[in-house]
Amino acid sequence: MKTETSAVNIDRSKGDFFYPEAHVRDAGAGLSERTVRYISDVKEDPDWVREFRLRGLKTFLEKPLPTHWASKDLEAIDFDKIRYYLSPGTEAKRSWDEVPDDIKRTFERLGIPEQERKFLAGVEAQFDSEAVYSNIKKAVGEQGVIFVGSTEGLKNYPEIFRKWFGKVIPIADNKFSALNSAVFSGGSFIYVPPGVKVKHPLQAYFRINAENFGQFERTLIIADEGSEVTYMEGCTAPKFNTPTLHSAVVELVALKGAKIQYITVQNWASNVFNLVTKRGLAQENAEVKWIDCNIGSRLTMKYPSVIMKGRKARGEVLSIALANDGQHQDTGAKMIHAADETTSNIISKSISIGKGRATYRGLVHVPKHLKHCKNNTECDALLINATSRTDTYPAITVRGTGNAVQHEASVSQVSAEQIFYMQQRGLSEAQAMSLSVNGFVNDLVRQFPMEYSVELKRLIELEMEGSVG
């Protein structure tokens, strides 16, 4: 409907443009100790961060690519050709007027300032390696909510920042979390004081403009006792012929009774390797909910996780992955139950189009000594063409008695008869397919915030239009 505004404009056709580079700070191509030190120097890192980065680099170099279980396509990433840090050399501005022209125009074309005015509590806009704009509505700031870039976070709020940084996702969690630890830049730091409920979402928008580039944002969100916050991230990049790497680390901490909802809409161009580690920690009675939507990219590997550490903590992952021709969406969820009466819910829907491939990997872990834990897992795959592919690897380790798990999986195919039926009513093949896909994800999308579901529907339509003759 016309009156609805969409939350995150990440239409790839709209996102497929770039301005000439005007970077003042450039770490050059390739990764070595020098690269890492350069980043530390430019960012004026405190010593503990310098050390952290160097440990990250060491771990990254030591760890093999996870090709024994993951896609061999990872070998196509040439770590020597990637540029690890590019920035205009200015600090994040509090007003769009102060943002350099080309960069400001980029975000205007993506509709960010407009959405900020309409319904967001705060926005952070990252351009290549650094946040260029970061602002929070006055009323929200006055409640004591902190919403800044990671660089600013670690400098200005070291006591809270350091306490949790790298604790939910240790450096050595995996090769790409180690890489991020070495070269991280940008991303958000959010702190919500006890009892504060942030009404409107805080949004970050990650934009890649440069070719042969790697974006490594690092986000840390801490919701103090009884507080609530919703964070949304959107990302786009123009389509280049060479691989682009996006490798973020996102850590969420929900203290006693707090609620964090983290919403991602990703619509990457088909040259992007999207290798992201996301994990939340939920203390007693707290809730961490990931809404994760992956469209585009060449290869996405992402398994949002929740560690339920306190009694009655809840974890949830609702995800949609759309794998078009030549794309591989390797996504899933991990639920680690570490206290009694914890509950988790995973609903994953994937759509494979053409030769697209969707893989679901799930992990549900409930150790023997726990009582009254519950997990529900549903994963459904929709295949559009005969050449489309889906695989499911659920790993459920539930020990002990008195814990309940429920697992359902389904694979369905859009049939030629279905498409013909819809065409007979006047819909083009592409419209028919996007309607089927929307029908398939409908019950899940209904649980998403309104603005977000509108955007998602539009993206699915665009994707289907592009995939049919």
Partner: protein, 254 residues
């Protein structure tokens, strides 16, 4: 000429000829009943009119108001005014009738023009009432878990909403109880008029008591073997298809 004109049509599937030189004209404003034994090719004809990709037209032509129908994609045919009520309608999981019909009607509007939501719902509820259905039905997924009769009613609901120039109704009566048959017939009759031509495929004379046809054709083994007025249906019921076939001008065989 405002008619659906099928001329010497031959249709094959997997190398086997199913429709074997069929000629039939349905002018707008008329209802033509098409009857024939199982497997005689009635549904095949209907699907080919609608543009089903599995069937090959090996000879003949089909013109809709003078326009070559066979050159058009199925959705173009639909948007230009051809409707088919399926003998076995497909299910579309997760897509509500309301959303489906809305998309179908939107597809008929010029680019940039948006369907007026209030008008749309007003019309939808009017037609729902016409067909003796419950409003809540429109928020169910298309044909998903519908009974046979509900599916057929939903086909006619779509016909009523989309207002085509020609409608092919493939055994819309089968699976309907007597009350439902009357309501559906009432629905179809209310749509009759100078702007709509109907090809009504059925096995049963019973339907023709409610939707009175202008012409009746008997199809056997891929051809029309007899044509006549509405009385032909009665005669056919009495005497059977063998009679119809024997009287054919040239013998039809399979």
């Amino acid at each position: 000429m405002k008619e659906l004109n099928i001329e010497n049509l031959r249709i094959a599937v997997d190398g086997q000829e199913i429709v074997r030189g069929l000629t039939l004209r349905v002018p707008r404003g008329e209802v033509h009943a098409l009857m024939g034994p199982n497997g005689s090719g009635k549904s095949t004809l209907a699907k080919v009119l609608a543009g089903h990709p599995d069937y090959h037209v090996t000879a003949g032509k089909v013109l809709m108001d003078g326009e070559n129908l066979l050159e058009l994609e199925p959705d173009e045919r639909a948007r230009r005014g051809l409707f088919m009520a399926f003998q076995y309608p497909s299910e579309i999981p997760g897509v509500t009738i309301a959303n489906f019909l809305r998309a179908a009607m939107q597809s008929r509007l010029p680019e940039g023009e948006e369907l007026e939501a209030t008008d749309y719902y007003a019309k939808l509820y009017e037609k729902i009432e016409l067909l003796g259905m419950d409003r809540s039905f429109t928020s169910r997924a298309v044909n998903e878990g519908f009974s046979g009769g509900e599916k057929k009613r939903t086909e006619i609901l779509q016909l009523a909403m989309l207002e085509p120039k020609y409608a092919v109704l493939d055994e819309t009566d089968s699976g309907l109880d007597i009350d439902a048959l009357k309501t559906v017939a009432h629905g179809v009759n209310s749509l009759r008029g100078p702007d709509l031509g109907i090809l009504l495929i059925t096995h049963y004379q019973r339907l023709l008591n409610y939707i009175i046809p202008d012409h009746v054709h008997v199809m056997v083994a891929g051809r029309i073997v007899r044509s006549g007025r509405k009385e032909l249906a009665l005669e056919l019921e009495e005497r059977g298809y063998d009679w119809a076939r024997d009287g054919a001008i040239e013998p039809a065989f399979r």
